[in-house]
Amino acid sequence: MVWTNAIIQGLLTGGLYALLASGLSLIFGVMRIVNLSHGDFSILAAYGVVALAIHSNMWVGILVSLPVMAILGYLLQRTILNRSLSQGALAPLLVTFAFSIIIQNLLLQFFSADNKSIQTGRFASMSIHLLKNLQIGILPLVTFLMGIFVTLTLHVFLNYSRVGRALRASSDDPGAADLVGINNRHIYGIATAIGLFSAGIGGVLFGMRTQFAPSFGPIALIFAFEAVIIGGLGSLWGTLIGGIVLGIGQSIGAQIRPSYGVLAGHLVFIAILIFRPQGLMPKQKER
């Protein structure tokens, strides 16, 4: 039963990693930008909620800070990242690294290095009993369902909407996208807006679950990276599966010995890199 429990808890945690990773996967898939600041944007959204909750409440904080993340994403893409894209592959990488440093230092400046968390009251500790020895928390369950919901929403958006198809077209061949009237720079802005919005959802749920500090962005980034690579580059469903595999790996490791959790996750990641470098669900050329 302890192992079943570990697997289920890991599965639920996987939803969080998928949320942290789906935007990373989208931004890379459309623009080939490796967003090194992705985790920091997640943490930024969590701090946004903390700051706004002081003056009003958590829900207002979420409703304000997530759209702000999307707007911020669009503006950063249109003003800075698009410019860097024409300077080769290294420039956007350095720019996002700079974002990472800037965000961390701004957060230190305004919120200090003390740990914070998003106060959800009873919500964070509520749980439901499935079996005698098996109970699952409402927050992890909501996180997991949100991971599936976001992946599904992105899937529908990319496959069945006009702008979603334009995103995929632009990802395939930006030059040809130009020729059908697609403004690539605008499309890139939308991709980053969606990417940071989903990063924000992940960050907020992360902040409800554990305490966080300005330096937590890179940790979130590593988990997100591992989820993307385990799942297979460029595949949204793969990213969800990757997050779940990582979550279960960590949870089983922690069951063996509490300090082994994160290590076990990294070992799963390395094993995938060695034995299946294309990931579990690589982007399919055919349907």
């Binding site: 006009r162 198809r165 334009a166 995929r168 077209a169 990802s171 395939d172 061949d173 030059g175 040809a176 996208a177 130009d178 020729l179 059908v180 009237g181 697609i182 403004n183 690539n184 982007k283 050329k285 055919e286 349907r287």
Partner: protein
């Protein structure tokens, strides 16, 4: 009524000049061909009109407006669509999705999924196939279909016949009359001289970036075209 008017257009790749003072006029519903050998500047001319390459000199007027400053995507919205060299079909999108993306600019008109299906029945049979798996002929029809989905006033076609089986080339050229019957002007660029002359009312021969011969397709002397094409005449 002149739809597209380019006057003394020049374009260059770095230090290399590719077009020297090229002028052309096209009216609505007209088919016009530009013939020339490899490297004569045909594709460059289309790129300059479509806006994927800047003109360094001269003017480009579309419906009386100067469009030289417009980016390629805005020119599509204005009514200029290019069927590019190499087709450039989106490989991970299906035939249907490629056509739908073609309608991104939301221009209204005769062409939609159904009329394209009727124009190229072969595409209807390949509806769910991704671009990556389409044959050369399918890609060419899809590329023209995708450009038509924007309901352009002028369709620019770069090397419609290149690398295709003669049967497919015939099909593609046959479809031109259905396209122009909707009032769309077509500018085709070809190496295949006979095909181009047969399809167009007016032709220009391009040699090393200059128009060396032009006239009504039916009246152009084949011998004169040969000389112009290879640059053997006294210019």
């Amino acid at each position: 009524m002149t739809l597209l008017e380019i006057v003394n257009v020049e374009a260059r790749y770095g230090d290399l000049n590719a077009l020297f003072g090229v002028s052309l006029q096209i009216s609505a519903g007209e088919v016009r061909s530009v013939i020339g050998a490899n490297g004569a500047g045909k594709s460059t001319l289309l790129k300059v009109i479509a806006g994927t390459m800047p003109a360094t000199q001269g003017s480009i007027k579309f419906n009386g407006h100067d469009i030289k400053g417009l980016s390629a995507d805005k020119r599509v919205r204005a009514g200029i669509s290019l069927v590019p060299e190499g087709r450039r079909i989106f490989p991970s999108l299906t035939v249907e999705e490629n056509l739908k993306v073609g309608a991104y600019s939301k221009r209204k008109g005769h062409w939609d999924l159904n009329t394209i299906k009727a124009l190229y029945p072969l595409l209807a049979d390949r509806w769910d196939r991704i671009g990556f798996h389409c044959s050369g002929g399918e890609l060419q029809m899809l590329s023209i279909g995708r450009a038509l989905m924007a309901n352009p006033e002028i369709l620019l076609i770069d090397e419609a016949s290149l690398g295709l089986a003669p049967v497919v080339v015939a099909q593609v050229y046959e479809s031109l009359s259905q396209i122009t019957s909707q009032g769309t002007a077509v500018l085709i660029v070809e190496q295949d001289m006979r095909q181009a002359l047969k399809a167009s009312t007016y032709s220009s021969v391009l040699l090393e970036g200059r128009v060396v011969l032009e006239g009504k397709s039916a009246e152009l002397n084949e011998n004169a075209i040969h000389k112009a094409y290879f640059g053997m005449g006294d210019r």
